[in-house]
């Protein structure tokens, strides 16, 4: 593995020292983290400059990252979906004013300021994309996955949604209408997946555990739980 001439102090941006690679990392991908990448060094230099200049507070940066690592993620959206499945009055409020109904559960704010919910049915399947950037409902789903931000997804979802869905293992018969939501303005869309058969009588918590991020973007359908009658 290539090593830098002078490893220097621990790299705050990558969190690695060359000699520590073997026992600090147990991840299974093959990126070479032994030498901080050029971009890691650039980012560290920019952050240091901005901190020294008083433009940013490093504790605030940590707090922002911690928020998206621990508090704002697809679990939020799953709770919205589970509530909608179990509480018809809530579903009604969600249809009329999704932003307010989602705020009832404590979710809102950045990239969730104006929400709409679109419902999958046996006749209609919904899929969300942003062709101009990678807009995504952060408040209920957290930060977008890599494929959602990819050029290929942004390009294909609007022209070939069935083909895109098939790539994710969702085979839609031609009898089902596919609606693509290109969220290029400031409205963010959450897909309400169909409730799987075999979950009758389940608690909201148990239902929320079934709901996946991908099902709320629209690239997955929820399978009946193992052991449940189809």
């Amino acid at each position: 593995m290539p090593h830098s001439q002078d490893p220097g102090p621990q790299d705050e941006a990558t969190g690695t020292r060359p000699q520590e690679h073997d026992h600090r990392h147990d991840h299974d991908h093959d990126h070479d983290h032994t030498v901080p990448s050029a971009i890691a060094l650039r980012v560290r230099a920019l952050e240091t400059l901005m901190v020294d200049k008083g433009l940013v507070d490093p504790a605030a940066l940590d707090a922002i990252i911690e928020t998206y690592e621990t508090r704002i993620g697809p679990r939020n959206g799953a709770r919205v979906v589970a509530r909608a499945w179990t509480d018809p009055a809530y579903l009604d409020r969600l249809r009329r004013d999704a932003t307010a109904a989602i705020a009832e559960l404590g979710y809102g704010g950045r990239q969730g300021e104006h929400m709409r919910v679109v419902e999958n049915t046996p006749q209609v399947h919904n899929l969300v994309v942003c062709t101009l950037c990678s807009c995504y409902p952060w408040s209920v789903l957290g930060l977008p996955p890599t494929w959602y931000k990819s050029s290929a997804y942004r390009a294909r979802a609007v022209i070939a949604p069935r083909e895109v869905l098939a790539g994710f293992g969702v085979m839609l018969p031609d009898t089902v209408e596919v609606r693509v939501w290109d969220s290029t303005a400031e409205i963010r869309y959450l897909v309400l997946p169909e409730r799987p058969a075999g979950t009758e009588g389940w608690s909201e918590d148990r239902l929320a555990d079934l709901v996946t991020r991908d099902s709320m973007i629209g690239v997955a359908r929820l399978a009946p739980p193992t052991g449940a009658a189809a």
Partner: protein
């Protein structure tokens, strides 16, 4: 602007990799870039619309080669210099120029939760009264602005139908360019697949877009 960020319907941009990828960040620097961008946004020196425009201005070849957070970094540095918050000299030396004191206070850690929870709502009371109605047939204007626009190329000149009115929202096209908020009606418009993609359209498919009144004209 008609650059490669406007990707809807393009061919040749590779395959989608649907492999589950639970990692939020693929290197620690990505998280730091996210945090720097969000902390800088709190100064109010630019809007998210302006930031988006600066990402679109990344030269097309770079735009395609950069990862998501590389685009974020490039646009942030560009704006920091353009708005006189950092100089090229400071960026190259890595040291603050004592002759150029900080112009805007840092977002403190205790204010982070409040900022993220507040977000930046774009709906505005008042504004121009809507001139179009739900159910009406509309055509997306065949406009090609050189600045920021939320009117994707693939709908320009195409006919759809208004399916909802979202209220009056800050007009991103104007706001991004420093022309003020110009709040106006934001409509949800449904375009049938065949109208957008001709014979290549998949059966029973439609695309919904949220478009501002200035993007639309009634079909008579």
């Amino acid at each position: 602007m008609n650059s490669v960020h406007d990707m809807g319907g393009m061919d040749g941009l590779g395959e989608i990799d649907p492999t589950p990828d639970p990692a939020l960040f693929h290197a620690p620097w990505e998280a730091r870039v996210l945090a720097l961008v969000l902390a800088s946004a709190a100064w109010g020196r630019w809007t998210l619309d302006t930031m988006r425009f600066h990402r679109e201005r990344i030269p097309a070849a770079d735009y395609l080669a950069f990862s998501y957070y590389e685009k974020w970094l490039a646009a942030l540095v560009d704006l920091l210099v353009r708005r006189d918050l950092l100089t090229a000299e400071e960026l190259s030396t890595g040291r603050p120029d004592p002759a150029r004191p900080v112009q805007t206070p840092a977002l403190p850690a205790c204010a982070v939760a409040g900022r993220l929870a507040a977000g930046s709502p774009t709906e505005r009371a008042g504004g121009r009264a809507p001139m179009l109605v739900v159910g009406q047939a509309v055509r997306a204007r065949n406009d090609h602005p050189a600045g920021h626009t939320r009117l994707p190329r693939y709908v320009r000149g195409r006919t759809g139908r208004i399916t909802a009115l979202h209220g009056c929202h800050v007009f991103a096209d104007a706001n991004a360019m420093g022309l003020g908020e110009q709040p106006q009606a934001l409509y949800q418009v449904r375009f049938e697949g065949a109208e957008l993609w001709g014979g290549r359209a998949e059966p029973r498919s439609a695309v919904y877009l949220d478009l501002w009144e200035d993007h639309l004209e009634p079909v008579r």
